[in-house]
């Protein structure tokens, strides 16, 4: 396992071979025979699952959690828990008012599940250091957090009610900066802004409503001399240039994008890039051979700035 190799790759540098990062998430719970809802609320189980998964898969890095409800929950969104999945956000406090009108404040280390994460990181960090495995802090990106706060109306508001959309997303950006600071204090070497729904909008919408509200988090991460990344899911083709123009060291994509296209784009912008072992087609459904899929990804990704990971 090689922490520095992963950091170098995210920063777009040449590595001896591609670092490997399983975005294990609640799969860690499965590996230690615990339900996801219990695992995500118990710091000792979280740390145990994380360390065992890093060992099992010989990971060069692993996300502390892969749960995009943490920030929303810490400012008042209710959750529905699942035994085999991440929790879903069930209420939207900004569905009919701005964050200010709703009386929302910024999260603290004591709100929501932040105390669980701080404790899990405290337990897991020395063990992962011993394995030479980096920890990734995963922040909920501004548009996904804006969706949690305001509901699906945010995708209409970015066209029809722009002032409201800016108010919600500006607040989401400020929460991102707080979360970045928390993950930095937990000892995460790489902090990723994870914004899956940012692939579901047009490029001009991304530029106006995502780019400026990613910056508060990247200012914290880059300012602390840590390494920053932006994770996007789905068919993000229409916004990939915008992703490359963010102030992050690298980015990661999923199975719906062609890795040759992504590699060339990343090289052009001097970014690290991660992906894209096919989570659905190969790992979940077995419609493709995971082994052959891995070989294709590794060949396409090469040795400059590439992190091999599921997508």
């Amino acid at each position: 396992m090689a922490k520095q190799k992963f950091i170098d790759a995210v920063r777009g540098k040449r590595t001896e071979d591609a670092p490997w990062v399983p975005y294990a998430g609640v799969h860690c719970a499965f590996l230690i025979n615990e339900p996801a809802d219990k695992f995500l609320q118990d710091p000792e189980l979280l740390a145990k699952g994380l360390v065992e998964t890093a060992k099992k898969y010989k990971a060069d890095a692993i996300p502390l959690v892969f749960d995009l409800s943490i920030e929303a929950n810490s400012v008042g969104c209710d959750l529905k828990w699942w035994p085999d999945n991440v929790p879903s956000v069930t209420t939207h406090p900004c569905s009919n008012k701005t964050p200010e009108e709703a009386g929302l404040t910024l999260p603290t280390k004591d709100t929501g599940r932040w105390p669980v994460l701080f404790e899990a990181a405290r337990i897991a960090k020395p063990q992962l250091d011993e394995l030479d495995c980096a920890i990734i802090g995963g922040i909920c990106g501004p548009l996904t957090l804006g969706s949690h706060l305001a509901g699906v109306r945010i995708f209409t508001d970015v066209y029809k009610n722009r002032e409201f959309a800016h108010a919600v997303l500006e607040y989401a950006g400020k929460i991102g900066a707080v979360a970045a600071q928390f993950y930095a204090e937990m000892g995460c070497e790489v902090i990723a802004i994870i914004d899956p729904v940012a692939s579901q909008i047009k490029s001009e919408t991304f530029k106006e409503f995502v780019t400026p509200y990613v910056k508060p988090a990247t200012d914290v991460i880059n300012g602390a001399d840590l390494t920053s990344s932006f994770f996007i899911c789905g068919d993000a083709t229409k916004v990939m240039v915008d992703v490359c123009e963010l102030d992050t060291h690298g980015f990661a994509i999923d199975e719906q994008l062609n890795l040759n296209f992504i590699r060339d784009l990343a090289m052009k912008y001097g970014k690290g890039f991660g992906g894209n072992l096919k989570l659905t087609l190969a790992l979940s459904l077995g419609l493709l051979s995971p082994r052959e899929d891995a070989i294709v990804s590794l060949a396409a990704g090469g040795h400059i700035g590439f992190t091999f990971a599921p997508g």
Binding site: D84, T90, K160, V197, Q200, T280, L285
Partner: protein
């Protein structure tokens, strides 16, 4: 009402994937008057039936919304009015006018969880 507009939402899994979740929510948060005119279901590609529906609809990307068998919103979460218009274009003539009259109503989140449950959101996402 006898004739309902049929909507199929192709997803990875609306619990795990936020984009899929908000694609589902765009239908589940339609106001009550629109809910009466539509029937909809989540098809997670993690299930055999979901793979079958993806093939049947000639899906290319996830998530996607199909209305009356047409792939309409592919990796774009629709605005409220876009959804109403897309349904109106494919609606039986008996409901077109009523649907058009609801174009300015906007999303309603009061029965969101109830509507998502009816559509099977998050309930059929295990690997078959």
């Amino acid at each position: 009402m006898a004739e309902k507009i049929k909507i199929d939402v192709l997803t990875l899994d609306s619990v795990q994937c936020a984009a899929c979740g908000y694609m589902m929510e765009s239908i589940a948060a339609l106001p009550d008057d629109v809910q009466e005119m539509i029937e909809y279901k989540e098809w997670s590609i993690k299930t055999k039936e979901g793979v079958g529906k993806f093939m049947e609809m000639k899906g290319k990307v996830l998530p996607s919304i199909c209305i009356e068998g047409d792939l309409v919103f592919e990796s774009i979460i629709p605005q409220y009015e876009e959804l109403i218009d897309a349904m109106g274009e494919r609606a039986p003539s008996s409901v077109k006018e009523r649907l058009a009259s609801l174009r300015d109503v906007g999303f309603n989140f009061d029965k969101l969880q109830e509507n998502l449950k009816k559509a099977g959101a998050g309930l059929n996402t295990k690997i078959a």
